[in-house]
């Protein structure tokens, strides 16, 4: 679509805002375990999450929109993750990456929280041990789809 000089377009502000928002989902720099290696490769040139507008991994939760829980969550890490999630500004999304973050995975023991969704709400679960980078990209795609459709946390959401 091309807009030449002298022409203009009409659109709903909500749609434009959601379009902008879905194209700049900034993840939080937070690697918990081996899944973080795949998350890093998603950010690296080969898979290049920058194509989706998520190239900036923010080191501060105040500036991040997306939390990628990349690995098993230790009991001691649980309160820290909860706090980081609370510090992120609304609207915010969470991807639970891999078997451990989603269900505890093979670590059915005292030290690991059996699924990060027991402490924070999760939008997309990515299966795998670890998931492929494509899987994580697809999860980001699903988040973007959610935003464009005006799902939870749309920028101009009335509720």
């Amino acid at each position: 679509m091309e807009v030449r000089p002298g022409e203009f377009m009409l659109a709903k502000l909500d749609d434009v805002a959601r379009w902008a928002q879905s194209s700049s989902v900034w993840p939080l720099t937070m690697g918990l375990a081996c899944c973080a290696i795949e998350m890093m490769s998603v950010q690296a040139p080969q898979y290049d999450i920058a194509r989706l507008g998520s190239e900036v991994f923010r080191a501060s939760p105040r500036q991040a929109d997306l939390m990628i829980v990349s690995g098993r969550v230790a009991q001691k890490m649980g309160p820290i993750i909860k706090r980081l999630y609370d510090q992120m500004a609304d609207p915010k999304w969470v991807i639970s990456m891999g078997a451990c973050a989603s269900s505890g995975g093979v670590f059915d023991n005292y030290a690991i929280i059996q699924g990060v969704d027991t402490i924070i709400p999760v939008d997309v679960y990515v299966p795998g041990c670890p998931p492929t980078p494509d899987g994580l990209l697809y999860a980001v795609n699903l988040i973007q789809q959610q935003i464009r459709q005006g799902g939870r946390g749309g920028i101009l959401a009335k509720t």
Binding site: Q75, K76, D108, N109, Y110, A111, Q114
Partner: protein
């Protein structure tokens, strides 16, 4: 608290260190907590200047129940070539600690490297190191109850021990009594026979 996941005691070698062959590169000393300080001071004066690690072991049924293991290495006091050093001396000191009120004197004043190692053993085995300047948990959360590396600690934690584990043994698609591996092997044999038949 005894756990349902604890293997039967009869299956244990009570003390593997008694049947293990002696290692050529390390002297092994077995002492009591009372002798610990003087032994380690003596070894340090003899040149074992480096405390590599301190470890804990729980033998559960044995008396004394725990072992605290000190790994020492003799570092050269002056710069020396590899030929002059040869094989450096290594000493492993095993201290038996009783299961009731386990106490061991701390050696943090001799080696600073013992600080975190002793905290870790306190955290995971509940062995108290007398004289440690900062003896608190290091890996588990501060309000954690119990000592997870003890053999009688329930693997999934006290809260979840009673919940059933998922069973992967129940396979509804395999008829009772038929070993699945046999079916796979037979299928493979037929596949190979077919492939050979086509070659001819």
């Amino acid at each position: 608290m005894p756990s349902s996941q604890t293997p039967s005691i009869a299956g244990y070698a009570l003390d593997p260190t008694t049947v293990r062959p002696p290692l050529s590169d390390a002297e092994i000393l077995r002492i009591t907590p009372g002798e610990l300080r003087e032994t380690l001071v003596r070894l340090r004066e003899e040149g074992c200047s480096m405390l590599l690690d301190v470890g804990g072991v729980d033998y559960l049924a044995r008396v004394p129940r725990f072992d605290v293991v000190y790994h020492l290495l003799a570092l050269p006091a002056v710069p020396a070539s590899v030929e002059e050093i040869g094989t450096p001396r290594r000493v492993r000191v095993l201290v038996g600690v009783p299961g009731e009120h386990p106490h061991v004197p701390s050696v943090t004043d001799l080696w600073v490297s013992a600080d975190w190692a002793e905290r870790e053993i306190y955290d995971l085995f509940g062995i108290v190191f007398d004289g440690h300047p900062n003896l608190r948990r290091i890996q588990m959360p501060d309000d954690w109850e119990g000592y997870p590396l003890r053999k009688d600690y329930p693997l999934r934690g006290p809260a979840r021990e009673a919940t059933p584990r998922p069973s992967f043994a129940l396979k509804s698609n395999v008829p009772a009594g038929a070993p699945p591996s046999g079916k796979v092997a037979e299928a493979l044999r037929q596949q190979i026979a077919r492939a050979r038949g086509q070659e001819k």
